[in-house]
């Protein structure tokens, strides 16, 4: 009898753990990187841009707190056009809400690679960028350098 009761207790605990685990999993951000590429830089360029989409498929928001690249200084910028003037604005601590995305595209949000060696950013090269999120931690994304095909 006691044995049977212990088994039931054991199963109940397992069930509770499973429910808790599922609730916890549902309340995590899920960061996904899609279609990232970098614009091939002219031979004399000191900077270039990268574009793509960062999706948060999870149920809670996450914040991009740092971006790193061994091949260049890198920042998340946004080009804003006001009264015909384009202005680049540095973005820090970008929040990506649950089930939403941050679209990086020309004349909007973009990764700005500065102080580059153009040979490293020529067509076909691979560049690794590390994105650090407050909750999700660090993700490495490999990006291909492609010709400007706007």
């Amino acid at each position: 009898m006691n044995n049977r009761r212990t088994k039931w207790h054991y199963l109940l605990v397992l069930l509770l753990l499973s429910i808790m685990n599922s609730v916890y999993a549902d309340s995590q951000p899920e960061i996904v990187f899609e279609k990232f590429w970098i614009v091939a830089a002219p031979d004399v360029a000191r900077s270039t841009a990268g574009y793509g989409v960062i999706k948060n498929k999870g149920d809670v928001a996450d914040t991009l707190i740092n971006i790193r690249c061994d091949m260049a200084m890198i920042m998340l910028h946004k080009t804003e056009i006001t009264s015909g003037m384009a202005k680049m604005i540095h973005q820090s601590n970008s929040v990506i809400e649950a089930h939403s995305e941050l679209l990086l595209e020309p004349m909007s949000f973009h990764l700005m690679f500065m102080d580059i060696t153009p040979a490293n950013f020529s067509e076909g090269k691979q560049i690794t960028v590390k994105f650090e999120f407050e909750t999700s931690g660090v993700s490495e994304v490999n990006m291909t350098v492609k010709a400007n095909n706007y």
Binding site: V39, P42, D43, V44, A45, R46, S47, T48, A49, D70, M71, A72, M73, H77, T79, I81, G84, M85, A86, K87, M88, H90, P106, M107, H110, M112, F113, M114, D115, T117, N148, N149, Y150
Partner: protein, 213 residues
């Protein structure tokens, strides 16, 4: 025979009407544009009147711009490729730097050549550039971030793999600037203000209209 003549007459009337429709739609912007002097990518002095007889698309920018300037030059390269070879000889794409200190003629030539070797990059003294900017009622402003900080000094705080470190200071700066594309007719008058977002076919149609004027 008569039937053929009627068809030919109809086609020629139609083509005249189309070319007029393209050109006639464009007003003349008084007070935007005019004559100026600059330095071309070979270091030679040029006058804007040197381009008389050609339809000109003029834009402002700088080579250390990572997003909108390469995007605009890529857009202009696509636009230019839509023109026939004969039309291309009647059109000049001009990119005027707003950072003449950094964008020397040789530097500009290599940068512009990445997009299309037919494009003309214009530089000059700061006074010359400021005059051209004011002629076209454009604006530019150095951004405070990284304003006077040499990029070499910024590099020191970010670990990076470089094999070709140079002691020469690189004073590339960041700017905000006008993004208008000025469509100028063969007589040097500004006829339309476009943007990189203008559908390419629509822009090409306007250029053709001015070529046929």
């Amino acid at each position: 025979m008569l039937k053929k003549l009627v068809i030919l007459l109809f086609i020629s009337l139609l083509s005249v009407q189309i070319s007029h429709a393209e050109g006639d739609e464009l007003p003349l912007f008084s007070g935007i544009g005019g004559s100026f002097s600059a330095v071309d990518a070979d270091g030679k002095a040029v006058e804007f009147s040197d381009f008389e007889g050609q339809v000109v698309v003029l834009s402002f920018g700088y080579t250390n711009c990572a997003d909108i300037c390469p995007f605009t030059l890529g857009y202009l390269a696509r636009l230019y490729s839509k023109l026939t070879e004969e039309e291309q000889t009647k059109v000049q794409i001009i990119f005027v730097t707003i950072d003449p200190e950094y964008d020397t003629p040789g530097h500009l030539k290599q940068f512009i050549g990445h997009f299309n070797s037919d494009f003309v990059g214009l530089s000059g003294s700061k006074e010359q550039i400021d005059y051209i900017v004011s002629l076209f009622q454009a604006k530019y402003q150095k951004l405070s971030v990284l304003n006077t900080v040499p990029t070499k000094n910024i590099r020191r705080v970010t670990p990076k793999l470089f094999s070709d470190e140079s002691d020469e200071e690189d004073k590339a700066s960041l700017y905000s600037h006008s993004v208008t594309l000025y469509l100028i007719d063969k007589s040097g008058f500004t006829r339309s203000l476009e943007y990189t977002g203008t559908p390419v076919d629509e822009f090409v149609s306007k250029i053709r209209g001015l070529i046929n004027e």
